[in-house]
Amino acid sequence: MVKVFLANHGGAPAKLLVKEGDVVKLGQKIGEAAGFISANVHASLAGTVKGVEKILHPIQERPMEAVVIEKSEGVEEWELITPHGDFNRFTPKEVVDIIREAGIVGLGGAMFPTHVKLVPPEGKKVDLLVINGAECEPYLTVDHRLMLEKSAEIVKGVKVLMHALGVTRAIVGIESNKFDAVEKMKAVCRGEPIEVAVLKTKYPQGAEKQLIYALTKRIVPSGGLPLDVGVVVQNVGTCFAVYEAVEHGKPLIERCLTVTGKGVKNTANLVVRIGTLTSTILDHVGGFADNVDRVLFGGPMMGIAVRSLDTPILKGTSGITVLTKEEVKGPPQKSCIRCSRCVEACPMNLQPYLLDLLAKKRLYDQAVEQGLMDCIECGSCSYICPSGIEHVKSIKLAKKVYRALRGGGKK
C-alpha cells in the first residue's frame, strides 16, 4: 500500500484526478499539476484507489491530501509517457514537456519542479549546468551509490538536460571522499562535454550556492537564484529520473534513498516507491535498534523529524535517518561565550550568534538587516556551538514570523 501526497513538490498541490474505487496502472497520472510551479503526481503502485486521506505532511506541517492505493495481485502494468525515446529526436521544448509530464522534481530534497528550472525567465541566460554529486548531508550515501551503479544513465540524463537548456557545458561536482565515484563518472564522461570536478569534502558542500561557488567562483546574489549567474543546478538523482522519463517514458514513481543511523538494525540504500510508509521501509531493513530517539526524513543536519511512522515518503526524501538518544545528545545549554566558532562555520558569512540574539529579542527587522533571510539552515552553527545554542531553531522561527508579519506566509 502507498499513500501518495498530492503536495509532493514545491509549489501548489496537484489537482486530484482519481476517485475511490478507480483501478490505476503503475505510472498513471493521479494528480494534475495546478499551475506552472507545480508537478504531476503518478500512481506508484498498480492497483485500486482506496480513497483520499488527510495525513500530516512532514514539510507543510499540516494535514494534506494523499491518495491511498492498494496493490492488486499479479504483474504490474505500466502506463508510460508518450512520446519517449532517444532524446535527440525531440526539440528542447518537447524534452521539457516530457519532464513536466513525468512529474520530476529536485530529488536532492528541495522538491522544486524540474521543468520550471529548465525554462529560464525572459532575460536570463543559462550557460552552465551544474550536477550536484556532493551528497548534501553526512550519513547519506544515496547519491554516491547511484553514481557508482547508474553512472552511464546519469550521464545520459545530464545530456538530456543540456539539450533541454541549450547549454554546451556541464560540470559534475563530487566530494573527494567519494573517489570511486569520481573515477567511475570520469570514465563515463570521457569524450563528452561534461567535466567531473573533485570538491573538498566539507559540509555543506552540496548546498546550491556553495557548490556553484566552489565549481565556478560565481557568487549567487543574496536573495537570488543560480539563474542570476547563468547556472542551473540538478542533483544526480534528478538526472537519473530525467533519463528514465525521456528514454523509457517512466514517470517519477520511485526514488533511491538511504536508510541509516544507529537507530536501525541494518543500514541500506533502497529503491523505494513514492508514498511508501516509513514503517514499511524500516521493517524491510530489520526495524529499530535500541534507544531510538527520532526518525528523520533526510540526513541529521537538515532532516525533518517525523511525528509518526505512518508518514509516507515524498519525492524529495533522500534518506530515513533513525537517531538514538546518544546520537542526539548535545552539550549542556549555556549562555553564548562568544567563541566565534559559529561565525567561522557559517557558509553564508552570517553571524549566527547575533541572529539568534536578535531573533530571541524579537528584533526581526534588525535580524533581516543582518542577513536572516540568507540563512540556508545548514545547521553548522548549532552543530559546532559549545554552549548548545540552537541558532537554527530561532532563525527558522524568526523567518516564519517575519514572513507572516510582512503578509507573505509562503514557504
Binding site: S222, G223, P300, M301, V328, I337, R338, Q351, Y353
Partner: protein, 322 residues
Amino acid sequence: MKLNVATSPHIKSTDSVFKIMTDVILALVPALIAAVYFFGVRALLLAVLGIVGGETIEIFIMRYIRGVRDFKPDGSAAVTGLLLAMNVNVGLPLWVFITGLIAALVLGKHVYGGLGKNPFNPALVGRVFLLVSFPSYMTTWWAPKYWKLEALTTATPLGLLKEGGASAVNFSYSQLFLGNVGGCLGEVSTLALIIGFLYLVFRKRIKILIPISYLGVVLILSSIFWMVNPERFGDPLLHLLSGGLMLGALFMATDMVTTPMTPKGHLIFGAGCGVITMVIRYFAGYPEGVSFSILIMNSLTPLIDIYTRPKVFGEDMGVRGR
C-alpha cells in the same frame, strides 16, 4: 512508540564550555610549572586557591544569590581564578588574593549577568582592583629563589627600564625567555607560555589572530622607538619578553567572551592592545600597560563588532527582494 520531534540539526559536536575551560587550564600548566620552579610551592598554593576558590565563589553566587539551585560548575570561574593567580606575585597575602578573586567574579562577571555577559575580562578586573586597592602588596617583586621562599625584593625589567633606561636592565634575554626574573607568577617564563599557547592553537581553542596582531604591533612600534632612542625606549626583544605581555597577549587578550567575533575584529582588537600597551610603557606613569590596554579594548569590543560585520555571501551582488 513515541518519537521525538525537534528542529535540525539533530546531531551536535561533543564540544562544551567545560571542555574549552579545561583546555585553557591545561594550557596554563606549563606556565604554572615554571612558576613553581622559580618561586616555590607557594605559587602552586595560589594557583590551586584560584581554581578551587573561584569555583566555590561562583557556586555560592549562583546557588544562593542568583537562585540557580541546580547550577553546575562550567569551569569558567576556575579559569578566572587561575589567571588571577598568574597575575599576582608569589608573596601576595592569601586574604588579599581572595579579596581580588571575589572582586573578579562579582564586579567583573556576575553583576553583568554571569557567563558570557561580562564586558571586561574578569581576571583583569580582579587584578586592577588589587592594583588600585593594595598597590604595595601588588608591586613587591620577589626574586626567583628556586625552592626557597625568601623575602627578597627585586625590580622587574620594565621597572628598571622606566627608572634607569636600557643600560639599567641587568637581565639576559635567555633569562627573560626562560623566566628567571622577578614578576607575576605567570609572566616570568615566555617559553612556558608559548608551549601552552601552541596547545590551545592545536586544540583550536583560541582566537589566534589577536595575539598575532598584538605582538606584531608591539614588535613594530618597539623597533621604531628603539631606532629613535635605544637608551630611553629599550629594544624590541626586551619589550616582547618582559612584563605581562606574553601572558596578556596569549591568554588574557584572547578571552573569548570579551573580544570581538570576526577575524577582522580580532586583528583590530590585537592592534589596539599593542598600541595602548606601548604608549603606557613609554609615556605613562606605570612601567607596564598590558592589563589596562586589554581592558580598554574590551570596552571597545561591541563597537568593533558593529564595524567589522562580515559581508554576507552574495551581498555585494545586489540585494534582490528578500
